[in-house]
């Protein structure tokens, strides 16, 4: 039996506030295609007496942590966090999918979930001669993250961003091979122990380096540093001001430091990444950057901003297929972008970039639509 003490579990997480209105499930992008039903799950926890059995609840791994459920809840119940806690209980018992196990082990050993060696982490930047933080007292730490460090597609984004920041004269440094995974996916996969250990390790490292201001490529890294570290006792000392790079670029554009001398003559639609938009309310900055680029025409999809459709890349879903590997949400999203008449699907998240690009290939739409990160579009317009 894989049971949780459901009464205490529900009280601690405020689940008794649930009025069973179903807004969480009505908006859940996975509820339409899998067995996941957040309202039903909460109700079953509430009525289970004092023991709720997690055995066989494979749908817990379907959640993409897109946060639509919480953002719609009128009673401020957070089904996503409840699901993560249930995953935690499963992981604690060691009953996890081999892929999850591999990702967690790699994160523990290599500082990334991608089974890549630590010594290759800064390969992407070897020809760029970037300042090492904090030597020379750089103003910002540029935290790259695992996907932009190792994935060839992600690396292009990181390099584009370096050139954009350079043209604006921003003073930043990187950690190189000393950079460690942010542990965001560790937390989403329910490995609370490893997460705590990594928060402790990273917090100590950042404190010692004297990081005051930092920014990230990935909204996932941004979110975990900004919102999750300080909630743990071992991360209480984490004090750096964290920004997503789109915030930095929007500021540089507004102050006139980042100038676009070129143009980007395309119809662009912007896909709001969950961890930038719903999780952190950053909707305007990415659009401000795009609208500041000469020649660029910004088109909105019906599902934009708060209503953005998850690409299905979050919540550990980069490592797991889930209970319905059929049509991925990213394919639905790409279809929406095609319907909008855009020729470029812009985003600002390495996971979104990979899943959406994959979906474009799957739909044989490479001729009609390209997926680009905002940093890449900005670089083309310098």
């Amino acid at each position: 039996m894989l049971q949780i003490e459901s009464r205490q579990f529900a009280v601690e997480r405020g689940l008794f506030a649930c009025i069973q209105c179903g807004k969480c499930t009505g908006g859940c992008p996975m509820a339409m295609k899998t067995r996941l039903n957040p309202r039903d799950l909460i109700y079953r926890v509430l009525v289970s007496g004092n023991g709720f059995n997690l055995e066989g609840r494979e749908e817990l791994w379907d959640c993409t942590t897109c946060l639509t459920c919480y953002s719609r809840c009128p009673k401020q119940v957070n089904p996503m966090e409840a699901i993560l806690a249930m995953r935690g209980a499963i992981v604690e018992k060691g009953k996890i999918h081999p892929n999850v196990k591999t990702a967690l082990e790699s994160t523990f050993r290599n500082g990334n979930p991608l089974k890549m060696p630590r010594s290759d982490r800064a390969e992407w930047a070897k020809e760029l001669q970037l300042k090492a933080f904090p030597d020379g007292g750089a103003e910002y730490l540029f935290y790259i993250g695992c996907t932009p460090s190792y994935d060839p597609r992600g690396q292009k984004v990181a390099r584009a961003l370096v050139r954009v920041l350079g043209s604006a004269g921003l003073d930043f440094g990187i950690l190189g091979n000393d950079e460690n995974c942010c542990a965001s996916e560790v937390r989403r996969l329910g490995e609370a122990g490893l997460f705590e250990a990594m928060v402790e390790e990273n917090t100590a490292a950042f404190t010692e380096l004297g990081v005051e201001k930092m920014f990230t490529v990935s909204p996932h890294c941004f979110n975990v540093f900004k919102n999750d570290y300080q909630k743990l006792e071992v991360g209480a000392k984490f004090s750096a001001q964290v920004q997503h790079y789109t915030q930095v670029l929007a500021d540089l554009t507004r102050d006139g430091r980042l100038k676009f001398n070129g143009s980007f003559e395309q119809k662009v639609t912007y896909h709001d990444p969950c961890y930038l938009g719903r999780h952190n309310g950053i909707f305007d900055e990415p659009r401000a950057i795009l609208q500041g680029i000469p020649g660029l025409e910004l088109i909105e999809m019906d599902r934009s901003r708060e209503k953005s459709l998850c690409c299905e890349g979050g919540g550990g879903r980069m490592f797991l297929e889930g209970t319905n590997p059929g049509t991925r949400l990213a394919q639905q999203r790409v279809q929406e972008a095609l319907d909008s008449g855009a020729t470029i699907l812009a985003t600002a998240c390495p996971f979104c970039l990979l899943t959406l690009e994959e979906a474009v290939k799957h739909l044989n739409a490479e001729e009609k639509l390209r997926v680009l990160d905002i940093a890449e579009i900005a670089e083309r317009a310098l």
Binding site: I19, G26, N37, K75
Partner: protein, 906 residues
């Protein structure tokens, strides 16, 4: 309505009722029927409140208007009630039994006691604006009646500030003449500007620097309205040869105006119209000041200027030319003051700043102002073939373009860069097109002399240093960069000053020192304005000063307060929010036709040719009507009873009352705060209040439920939008929505035969008398209630889908819908905390006014002597509101009868 209001009736005390919805009306009627005096204060132009917007009431399906209007009609018929609409409470002092209340009545601009409600005004009004009463589903004119059964029945004008009028130094009613031009009424448009005291319409339409256009809100959509060009066509197409008749002199005082420029002539024109005898003195042989002496003919044809000056003079202004004052043998200011009871000094800034370099007194070195004057007065100008103009202002550009037209090769030398040039950018580019060469960052060192004549100019390159006191970067010479320009004529245009010596009035740097509001100088009865006060500026600023001076001089001569009611504080144009009546369709400005460069550079023909009538009408239709009322005054002309009061102003009213009933009602939740429903984005998504107007026989569709003319076939209602929602900090239940939705679902079923009607609900609160029975009836009609509250609305193609979980099925569902009604919750009034401060009322954590005890003192507020009625205390339906209003009236009457003092002060 009369200004004097009796302070009490029969000596039995009086009550103030704030808010005239059903709660306020009921409380006022009860108190008045009991023999007490009531002041019923309502901030909107009509009583009736929210109930007047509803179609039917639940659960009895009475027509809301039919049961409300008799009560509304009782209000003006009740001799004990004084109804004050457009009025708000400003301050309350005192205590229970003896409150002193200050009210402010906003202008209605229509005399309620004279208006018969015939509607002739509304027929001629050119402005449409969203109809808020109909939830903006249709529109009405700027002069309107809120709804046909409004009480009072009088019309009202919606008049707001507009950026163009505020920004204009002469505060010309821009939107007024633009609205008239949009209708092709050019003559009326010209008349409208002249009525506003501005005689130089064709002139301003050609030479104004139009600061109004920089603030025009239309630029937020595409480009500013071409206001200046429209003013020009008002004159060009609206003028006729008829001259005004001399105005009869009413007063014995005689006013002297020194200077026949735009400031002086504007003052003279306006004082003459008011019935004063005015004499204008000018040192030059012809009138017009800088308009005549400074502005070249190719920008302002003399025929236009002279026609407008003749318009001023024809009204009876006396003009004495060749008469300098205080110099050159002319009469002194003292002489003028002896013979005139007031003097306006508008002498302009005709002096020139010297270059301060060796050789500047050579015969081929001219100053721009005398050079332009010389030419403009019709004299030959003897200049050479290679001319250097020094300076970057408008006079420099004028001089350069004139020299060019005389056949010279012209170089303009300016010591800073293009960005710092004070000249209007469109003038600079016109000069460049015509062939004037511009040299930036260069300054003259000396004029090179050869045989007593100028033979060139030595200049030095400059660079921009730190900003100086004017905020512009100071030019600094670059050593070793001296060079010689081969020219034979130099025109200096580096500054103008005021020739103010010899008048004996206090000056600073030569400019007269005046009170900025009244334009009074240090000498009693002597006023000054225009360039003579602010230095070389613009025509429109001079005209503004002329208007200011005329008002001051009239007040001065009539012994009135010079400052009362005048202010230079205006709303900031950036704070002005507008909601155009219709979606703004992008349309670029009409292009001003110009004489081709080749046809203009060897003559002084006018360069800008003016818009055609068709262009002008199209351009005028681009105006967004920020001010709503355009002040075109067509209604004034149309009203046969003279009920329109354009000069109506806010008025303070003080009343003494013993008790106060607060009945200020509620606001409707703005569903834009829940973006997942796409309200404001999808036209098919509306609020329940909007549904009421659609269903109402007196609404925009006369009761046909339709969107864009199509009756919907699939109607979905969504409960609890903006209520019971902690994520919005609106945790309370709105109490009326469950039954309102049931009623509306019934109406939809009744009016839309065969339509599929779905209600998504969490739970149905049918707690009142007859409510559950009504809910039963509605379901039996075939309306599908599905349990589950929708999460979002999405659009695919042209279709909208409500996405929810049917919690009884345990499955996510999508329901296609062509009309979606959001049961938007009730919220406290947005300005409830403002009123709470004035009255010292306590608000609950939900924002509603807090009663003194939740069980036992439900109509008493936290302040003794003040009582609560209706939704200002919390959401409630009509029967509960009426009951509470009657209870509040009763509590107030107990106090007024002197029986409740002990209780009230507890």
């Amino acid at each position: 309505m009369s200004d004097s209001i009796p302070s009490s009736a029969n000596g039995r005390g009086a009550a103030l009722v704030i808010g005239a919805g059903i709660a306020g009306i009921q409380a006022a009627l009860d108190i008045a029927d009991a023999g007490f005096k009531v002041y019923l204060v309502e901030r909107s132009p009509s009583i009736g409140g929210r109930m007047s917007q509803l179609d039917k009431t639940f659960p009895t399906l009475d027509c809301s208007s039919c049961i409300l209007t008799p009560k509304m009609a009782d209000v003006p018929r009740n001799p004990n009630i004084t109804l004050l609409t457009c009025t708000q409470v400003e301050a309350v002092e005192g205590q229970a039994g003896a409150f002193h209340v200050t009210l402010e009545r906003q202008p209605r601009f229509v005399d309620e006691s004279v208006c018969t409600g015939c509607g002739l005004c509304t027929d001629v009004c050119p402005v449409i604006t969203p109809n808020i009463f109909n939830a903006a589903l249709d529109s009405h004119k700027a002069i309107y009646r809120v709804f046909p059964q409004a009480v009072p029945a009088a019309f009202v004008i919606d008049k707001r500030p507009s950026p163009c009028k505020i920004t204009c130094p002469a505060h010309i009613p821009v939107q007024g003449y633009i609205a008239l031009i949009a209708q092709g009424k050019f003559r009326e448009a010209l008349q409208r500007v002249r009525e506003a005291g501005v005689p130089f319409v064709g002139t301003l339409g050609r030479v104004c620097y139009h600061p109004c256009e920089s603030e025009c809100k239309r630029a937020d959509w595409d480009e500013a309205v071409s206001i200046c060009a429209l003013k020009r066509i008002a004159y060009d197409a609206g003028r006729d040869d008829e001259k005004p008749q001399p105005v009869p002199i009413q007063y014995e005082e005689h006013v002297a105006v020194v200077g026949a420029g735009p400031a002086g002539l504007t003052t003279a024109c306006n004082l003459t119209r008011r019935g004063y005898k005015v004499t204008v003195f000018d040192a030059l042989p012809s009138p017009g000041g800088m308009l005549a002496a400074g502005i070249p003919e190719y920008r302002l044809p003399r025929e236009v200027l002279n026609d407008e000056i003749d318009y001023v003079l024809a009204q009876g202004v006396e003009l004495k030319l060749n008469t300098p004052i205080g110099r050159d043998g002319g009469p002194s200011l003292e002489d003028l003051r002896r013979d005139h009871q007031a003097v306006f000094l508008a002498i302009g800034a005709h002096g020139s700043s010297r270059l301060g370099v060796p050789g500047e007194d050579l015969p081929e070195v001219f100053q721009a102002v005398p050079f332009l004057r010389h030419m403009n007065m019709g004299h030959e100008a003897n200049i050479g073939k290679h001319v250097a103009v020094i300076g970057g202002g408008n006079s420099a550009i004028d001089a350069a373009r004139c020299a060019l037209r005389l056949g010279a090769e012209v170089q303009l030398v300016y010591r800073r860069s293009r960005a710092e040039m004070p000249a209007a950018p469109w003038e600079v580019s016109a000069a460049e097109q015509e062939g004037v060469k511009l040299t930036f960052l260069s300054a003259p060192l000396r004029v090179i002399e050869k045989d007593g004549h100028a033979a060139g100019i030595e200049c030095i390159r400059m660079k921009l240093g730190e900003p100086d006191s004017s905020g512009r970067r100071r030019p600094v010479p670059v050593d070793g960069t001296e060079y010689v320009m081969d020219v034979d004529t130099i025109i200096a245009a580096i500054g103008q000053n005021v020739e103010s010596d010899g008048l004996g009035v206090e000056t600073k740097w030569g400019q007269f020192v005046v009170d900025p509001l009244t334009l009074e100088t240090s000498a009693k009865g002597v006023f000054a304005g225009g360039d003579a006060v602010i230095g070389p500026a613009s025509v429109v600023e001079a005209i503004g000063a002329g208007l200011q001076a005329a008002e001051s001089i009239h007040r001065y001569l009539r012994g009135m307060d010079l400052r009362d009611g005048r202010s230079q504080d205006h709303p900031k144009s950036k704070d002005i929010q507008i909601s155009p009546a219709e979606a703004v369709k992008r349309a670029p400005r009409e292009h001003m036709p110009e004489l081709p460069v080749a046809e203009r550079i060897n003559n002084f023909r006018e360069v800008e040719l003016g818009l055609t009538a068709e262009q002008a009408m199209a351009e005028a239709q681009r105006c967004l009507s920020c001010a709503v009322c355009s002040e075109c005054n067509q209604c004034v002309t149309a009203c046969q009873r003279g009920a329109i009061v354009p000069e109506d102003a806010p008025r303070r009213i003080e009343v003494d009352v013993g008790a106060i009933v607060v009945a200020t009602g509620f606001d409707v939740f703005d569903p834009r705060r829940k973006p997942e429903f796409g309200y404001g984005k999808y036209p098919q998504v509306i609020t329940s209040l909007e549904f009421e107007r659609l269903a109402s026989a007196s609404g925009p569709t006369a009761g046909r439920i339709s969107l864009n003319g199509h009756p919907p076939n699939k109607v979905t209602f969504i409960h609890c939008v903006g209520s019971r929602d902690r994520s919005l900090n609106l945790p309370n239940c709105s109490r009326v929505c469950c039954m309102a939705v049931a009623k509306q679902a019934h109406l939809a079923h009744d009016r839309l035969p065969g339509a599929q009607i779905t209600v998504f609900y969490m739970d149905v609160r049918a707690f009142g008398k007859g409510f559950e029975e009504f809910y039963d009836r509605v379901r039996k009609e075939g309306i599908l209630y599905r349990r589950g509250n929708p999460s979002e609305i999405v659009r695919r193609g042209d279709h909208l889908f409500v996405r929810a979980e049917d919690t009884l099925l345990g499955e996510p569902v999508e329901v296609e819908s062509d009309l979606i009604v959001l049961a938007a919750g009730l919220t406290p009034r947005a300005d409830a905390s403002g009123l709470a401060q004035i009255l010292h009322l306590v608000q609950g954590t939900d924002g509603y006014f807090q009663e003194a005890h939740p069980k036992l003192r439900t109509v008493e507020s936290s302040v003794p002597g003040m009582y609560l009625a209706g939704c200002c205390q919390g959401p409630k339906d009509i029967p509960d509101t009426v009951a509470q209003a009657k209870a509040a009236a009763s509590a107030a009457m107990i106090l007024l009868n002197g029986k409740g003092a002990n209780h009230a002060s507890n």
